[in-house]
C-alpha cells in the first residue's frame, strides 16, 4: 500500500473548504424560511379548486405498535369521511412516525411539506415532544389523541406551544383520583405498585403514590417492568411476601393481562386497581376469570355517551371491528372532529379556491367545546383537555366478564 503523502491532506482540505464555501454561498443566497420570529409561523393556505383539504395523521403504521397506531388512524379518518367543507373534500395523509423522536420529526417535516392544514398526532409522547418545534415553526396545529406525558403541554423551556393540543387527560388527575378511591372507597392502607417503566406508567404511578401517601397510606413496594414483559413470577412472589391490601398497576393491558393471571394464581383475593390503559376489552378477553373483581379507572363519564355509540357504530360499519378493542380510538375520532369543526368555521371561499388562515384555524380549534366520543372536549391555555378534568374519573369493576361502574 502506498504511503499517502502530504497530497492527501491538501485534497481533503480542499473538500472541506468547498463544503464550507458552498454553505456560505447558499446561506447568503438561499431562500429564507418564513416566520423568523420565535412565535408560531402562521400563514394562510390556499387550496386550489378540485383539490382536497389535507389533514395529516402521524401514527405508527408498521411494526410492534401497529395494533395501536392503525386503529387510531382509522378512527381519525372516520371523522372526515364524506365531509364537505364549502364544496371541498378532506383527504388524510398518513405518515409513520414509529413512536420515536426522530420519526416524529421526519413525519412532521413530510406532512408540512405535503401541505396539510392540521395534524392528528403524533400518538407517542416522545414523538410529540420532538416534533412540536417543527409544527410550531410551520404554524400547523397538531392534536394528539394519546400523548399523556406532562412535558407535552409544559415544555422544559419556554411557554407551551400554541400549536400543540391533546385530548387525553393529564395523568396527574387520574392518579390522584385513583389514590382517593383506593384509600376511601377500598379502604386500602398498604399498596404495592407495579408499573410500566414507560412515560405513561411511571407518571401515573408517581401521581398515585404521592397522593396515596399524602392521604396516609403506605407504599410497601414498587416494581417496574419493561414493555413486552411476560414473566411476573418474581414480582408476584415479592407481593405475596409483603401482603399488601391493594395491588396497584399502571401500564397497558398487554402486560396487565399476564400480570393479573400470575397474581391470581398466588393471591386470588387481593384488591387490584389499574387505569385507563388497561380498561379495555382485550384485558377481559385475555385475563378471563382472573380479571374478576379488578377495579379500573377511566377519565370519562360512567356510561359511554351517545356520542361514543354513534362513533362505535360508524367504526364497525366502516372497518368491521370494534373500536373498543384498541385504546384511544375514540380520542382520535374526537381529535379529527376538532379539526373538521374548526375548518368548517374558518375556511373561506376565495373565488373557486379555498382559503384557510392557519392562525384562525388554530384559534378555532382551541375554542372547540363539545361532547366527544371519548368524553368532553375543551381546551385550556396550554393545550390540555380541561374538559376531561371537569368530570370525575369513573371507576369500574369487572363482574361476570364485563366492566360495571362502581357508584
Amino acid at each position: 500500500m502506498r504511503n499517502p503523502g502530504p497530497r492527501r491532506w491538501r485534497w481533503m482540505l480542499l473538500v472541506a473548504l468547498t463544503a464550507v464555501l458552498t454553505a456560505a454561498m447558499v446561506a447568503c443566497g438561499g431562500d429564507d424560511e418564513e416566520g423568523g420570529s420565535s412565535a408560531a409561523g402562521f400563514k394562510t393556505v390556499t387550496i386550489q379548486a378540485g383539490q382536497p383539504i389535507k389533514i395529516g395523521i402521524s401514527s405508527v403504521i408498521s411494526g410492534d405498535l401497529e395494533s395501536l397506531g392503525v386503529p387510531i388512524a382509522q378512527a381519525a379518518e372516520l371523522a372526515g369521511k364524506d365531509v364537505q367543507i364549502q364544496g371541498f373534500s378532506i383527504a388524510f395523509v398518513r405518515k409513520d412516525d414509529g413512536c420515536s423522536s426522530e420519526g416524529g420529526v421526519n413525519a412532521a417535516t413530510q406532512l408540512i411539506q405535503e401541505g396539510v392544514v392540521a395534524v392528528v398526532g403524533p400518538i407517542c409522547s416522545s414523538s410529540v415532544v420532538a416534533a412540536q418545534p417543527e409544527y410550531e415553526k410551520a404554524g400547523i396545529t397538531h392534536i394528539s389523541p394519546s400523548a399523556t406525558a406532562v412535558v407535552v403541554t409544559a415544555p422544559a423551556r419556554g411557554t407551551p406551544f400554541a400549536t400543540t393540543l391533546r385530548i387525553p387527560a393529564n395523568d396527574g388527575l387520574q392518579g390522584i383520583a385513583q389514590a382517593k378511591f383506593a384509600y376511601e372507597k377500598l379502604g386500602a392502607r398498604k399498596a404495592y405498585i407495579v408499573h410500566d417503566t414507560d412515560v405513561y406508567g411511571t407518571g401515573l404511578a408517581d401521581s398515585f403514590a404521592k397522593e396515596f401517601q399524602r392521604l396516609g397510606g403506605t407504599i410497601v413496594g414498587r416494581e417496574g417492568y419493561e414493555k413486552r414483559t411476560t414473566d411476573f413470577s418474581s414480582v408476584v412472589t415479592k407481593i405475596q411476601q409483603q401482603n399488601p391490601d391493594l395491588v396497584y398497576h399502571s401500564g397497558f393491558y398487554a402486560e396487565a393481562t399476564p400480570f393479573i393471571q400470575q397474581l391470581r394464581r398466588v393471591l386470588p383475593n387481593v384488591k387490584f386497581l389499574s387505569g385507563d390503559g388497561v380498561r379495555d376489552d382485550e384485558f377481559l378477553r385475555g385475563a378471563g376469570k382472573d380479571a374478576e373483581g379488578a377495579y379500573l379507572s377511566q377519565p370519562s363519564p360512567p356510561a359511554p355517551g351517545p356520542e361514543f355509540d354513534t362513533f362505535k357504530k360508524k367504526f364497525q360499519e366502516a372497518y368491521g371491528e370494534d373500536p373498543s378493542d384498541s385504546p384511544f380510538t375514540a380520542e382520535a375520532y374526537d381529535a379529527a372532529t376538532v379539526i373538521v369543526r374548526a375548518l368548517q368555521e374558518v375556511a373561506q371561499k376565495d373565488g373557486n379556491n379555498l382559503r384557510i388562515d392557519l392562525r384562525k384555524l388554530n384559534e378555532a380549534m382551541r375554542k372547540q367545546k363539545f361532547a366527544g366520543a371519548s368524553g368532553p372536549v375543551e381546551f385550556g391555555e396550554n393545550g390540555d383537555n380541561i374538559g376531561k378534568a371537569s368530570i370525575e374519573i369513573s371507576f369500574y369493576v369487572v363482574r361476570n366478564g364485563k366492566f360495571e361502574p362502581v357508584q
Binding site: 413470577s233 405475596q240 399476564p258
Partner: protein, 315 residues
C-alpha cells in the same frame, strides 16, 4: 430483610427454576448450532416464537378452552410435537437458504444473515397478526403441591419436569446414538469428520433440527405458563437464552443447561439477594441489568464460560 420467610426464598427459587428451564431449553439450540457451525443463530428466538404459535394453533384446533379431562394431556402432547415439527422445519429452511451458502464465509456474514432472518420472521408474524397477541387456552389444571414452606404449582412442576426430560433426551441422543456421534465429531473438527466419512451436511441439519425442536417445545411451555404470545415474544428470551449459553460455555450442552438455570435463578433469587444488601434495591426493572452484568462478571473470570473449553481461543 433477610428474615423474609423461607417460603419467600423457596418461592423465588421455584420461579427461577421455572424460567430457567425455558432459558435452558432455548439455550440448547444456540449452543448446539454454535458448537457445530461456530455461528450465533440469532434467529433462534424466532424459531421459539413460531413453535409457540404452532402449538397455539393445534390447541385451538383441539377445541381451545373447551378441552377437558384426558384430552388435555393429549392436546398438549400433540401441541408440543407439532411445535417441535414447526420449529424444526423453520430451522431447516433457514439453514438451507441463509446459513449453508455462508458456511465458509468469515463469521460476520452469517451473523448478519441470522440477524436478518430474525428481523424478517419477527416482523412477518407481527404483520400477519397485526401485532395483536394470541391467548393460549387455560386448560392446564391448577393446584399445587405444598410441603412445609415449599410450594410449587403443578404447572411449574410440569414445566421444569418437561424441560429436564427433554434435556436428558437430547443428551442421550448426543451421547449414545450414531447421529449424535456425528454431530460431536463435526463440532470438534469438521474436516476430520468429513475425512472420516461423516455426512457433514446431514449432521448440521440434524443439529438444527434438534435444537429447534427443543425451542419449539419451550414455546408451548411458555404459552401454557404465560398464556400470551405475540410475534415479538422471541426477542428477549432469545437474547437471555444466548446469554445463558455463553455463560455456561458456548458449545457445551451441559453448559447451556447450567447456564439457563443459573440465569433464571440470578434474575430472581440473585436479584432479591442483592437487594438485601443495605442501601441497594433492585426491583424488577433491574432484572436484565443483573442478568447482563452477571454475564460480564462471569466472563471476566472465565472467558470461555462455566464449562467452556479453554482450547478454542480462536473461536
Amino acid at each position: 430483610m433477610f428474615l423474609a420467610s423461607t417460603s419467600f426464598w423457596l418461592d423465588q427459587m421455584v420461579n427461577g427454576l421455572t424460567i430457567g428451564s425455558m432459558y435452558a431449553l432455548i439455550a440448547l439450540g444456540y449452543t448446539m448450532v454454535y458448537g457445530v457451525l461456530k455461528m450465533i443463530n440469532f434467529a433462534h428466538g424466532e424459531v421459539f416464537m413460531l413453535g409457540s404459535y404452532a402449538g397455539f394453533g393445534i390447541l385451538v384446533a383441539f377445541g381451545g378452552e373447551s378441552i377437558a379431562g384426558p384430552m388435555v394431556a393429549v392436546a398438549i402432547a400433540v401441541a408440543m410435537a407439532g411445535a417441535a415439527l414447526a420449529s424444526a422445519s423453520t430451522s431447516v429452511v433457514l439453514e438451507r437458504i441463509a446459513y449453508r451458502p455462508l458456511r465458509n464465509a468469515p463469521r460476520l456474514a452469517p451473523l448478519i444473515t441470522a440477524i436478518g432472518a430474525s428481523i424478517f420472521l419477527q416482523f412477518l408474524v407481527l404483520d400477519v397478526t397485526s401485532a395483536k397477541a394470541s391467548f393460549y387456552p387455560r386448560i392446564f389444571p391448577g393446584g399445587s403441591i405444598v410441603i412445609g414452606a415449599f410450594r410449587i404449582t403443578y404447572l411449574q412442576l410440569f414445566l421444569i419436569g418437561c424441560s429436564v426430560a427433554m434435556m436428558l433426551f437430547l443428551s442421550a441422543i448426543i451421547q449414545r446414538t450414531a447421529v449424535g456421534r456425528s454431530i460431536r465429531a463435526v463440532a470438534e473438527n469438521r474436516t476430520a469428520a468429513a475425512l472420516m466419512g461423516i455426512d457433514v451436511d446431514r449432521a448440521i441439519v440434524t443439529t438444527f433440527v434438534l435444537g429447534a425442536a427443543m425451542a419449539g417445545v419451550a414455546g408451548v411451555l411458555w404459552g401454557l405458563f404465560f398464556l400470551q404470545i405475540r410475534g415479538s415474544m422471541g426477542f428477549l428470551p432469545g437474547i437471555k437464552a444466548f446469554t445463558a449459553a455463553v455463560l455456561g460455555g458456548i458449545g457445551s450442552i451441559p453448559g447451556a443447561m447450567v447456564g439457563g438455570y443459573f440465569l433464571g435463578l440470578a434474575e430472581t433469587v440473585g436479584r432479591e439477594a442483592l437487594s438485601t444488601i443495605p442501601g441497594l434495591n433492585f426491583p424488577n426493572e433491574w432484572r436484565d441489568v443483573i442478568a447482563f452484568s452477571l454475564l460480564v462478571f462471569v466472563l471476566l473470570f472465565r472467558p470461555t464460560g462455566i464449562f467452556g473449553e479453554l482450547v478454542s481461543r480462536r473461536a
